[in-house]
Amino acid sequence: MKKNAEFLIKTLPTVEIPGSAKVKCRYKKMVEFAKSFGYTDEKYIGSEEKGIFACPGFANAISVKAFYTLIPGVKIEQDGQMRDLLLNPNKLLHASQAYNWENCVPIKNGDSLIAKAAYEKAWVNESMVLFTQMALTVKNQNDELVFSVKTLGAIRPGGY
C-alpha cells in the first residue's frame, strides 16, 4: 500500500487523461435539473423556443457526466504493467468540489460542451487515505469557457 501510494503521488500529476467528454445541453434535462432545486423562473425553465439558461448548479450534472466518461479510460503503468487508478471503486469518496466561473459565459440549451480533465496532485494523510485532485475545464462549441472545477477524490486503503 505504501509503495502504491508513493508511486501514485509521484506519477499521477504526470498522467494524461486521454480524450474529451462531449455533453449536449438538452432543454428537457436542464429544466428537470432546475426544477429538482425548486427553481420556477423562466430564465431556467421557460419555453424551449425562447431559449433558457442552465442554472449555475447544472455544472454538477456536466462534471459528473464528464468524469464518468473520462476517468474509466485512465490506465497507469506501474512496474511494467498497466493498472487502473482505482483498484476497488467502493473505496472512493467524493471529498470536495470547487467551481470557478471567472470569465465564463452562461450555458444555454442546445450548447455542445467539451470537457477535458487533468490530474493536478496527489497525497496521503496519516490514515493512508490517498487524495487525488483533478481539474476539469469545460468549454462550449465556440471555444468559450463555461466553467472549471477542481474535484478532490479520497481513496481509502485497499482502493489504490
Binding site: S36, D41, Y44, C55, G57, A61, Q97, A98, Y99
Partner: protein, 181 residues
C-alpha cells in the same frame, strides 16, 4: 436589488430546505446523470453498509449554488465567481439543510464568504419516557456513537414533547460573488 454598498462584513446569507425525500433524490439522479443506486435504492444502500439511501453529495452542494444565485437575483445583480466545499457528512431523507454564507471580505465589487451547510436530522419525540414519534433516523439507526461522543445529538422542547435531533456541519466551504453595482 442587492448592491455592494448594502453588504457588510459579518453579514449572513441564509437558506433552509426541508423537503429531501426519496422521490426528489430519484428526480435529481435522473436529471444529473448520477444514477449510483446508493442514492435511490434502500436495499442496495443497506448492502453497502449505509443503512438507507443517502443524498448525492453534489445535490446538497447544489443548494449552496442556489442560495447565492437567488441572492444575486438569478444573475440580474451580479455573478457567482467561485463556490467550493468539502463533503464531510451524509445527508438523509427527512434532514433539514441550513446553508449559510458569512461575509468575510469585500474587495471592489467582490464579496468573499465562508460557507457552512448544516444538517438537522430528527430522531424521535418523547413524552416522558414514551417515544411518541420516531423519524427515519431513529428507525434506521443513522445516529452513531461518534455523533453522541462529539456532542452532535441534542434535545429541545417541541409542542408534542422533547425532540431528539442531530445537528452537524456536512459541508464547510467558501464562495466569491461579484455584484454589478
Amino acid at each position: 436589488m442587492v448592491k455592494i454598498a448594502d453588504i457588510q462584513i459579518g453579514q449572513v446569507i441564509r437558506a433552509e430546505f426541508d423537503q429531501i425525500n426519496r422521490d426528489l433524490l430519484k428526480r435529481y439522479a435522473k436529471a444529473s446523470g448520477d444514477t449510483n443506486p446508493i442514492h435511490t435504492n434502500d436495499a442496495i444502500a443497506e448492502r453497502a453498509g449505509l443503512k438507507g439511501v443517502i443524498a448525492h453529495g453534489l445535490f446538497s452542494f447544489g443548494f449552496l449554488t442556489k442560495m447565492f444565485d437567488e441572492f444575486i437575483g438569478l444573475g440580474k445583480d451580479g455573478k457567482i465567481i467561485e463556490i467550493g466545499g468539502e463533503m464531510r457528512g451524509m445527508v438523509r431523507c427527512g434532514d433539514t439543510l441550513i446553508t449559510e454564507g458569512k461575509v468575510t471580505k469585500i474587495e471592489g465589487k467582490r464579496v468573499y464568504l465562508d460557507v457552512t451547510q448544516t444538517t438537522i436530522t430528527p430522531v424521535e419525540i418523547k413524552k416522558g419516557d414514551e417515544v411518541i414519534k420516531q423519524f427515519e433516523a431513529g428507525e434506521r439507526g443513522y445516529i452513531s456513537e461518534k455523533d453522541i461522543a462529539r456532542g452532535f445529538v441534542k434535545t429541545k422542547e417541541v409542542p408534542e414533547g422533547v425532540l431528539t435531533y442531530r445537528e452537524r456541519i456536512n459541508l464547510p466551504g467558501h464562495a466569491i460573488i461579484e455584484l454589478n453595482e
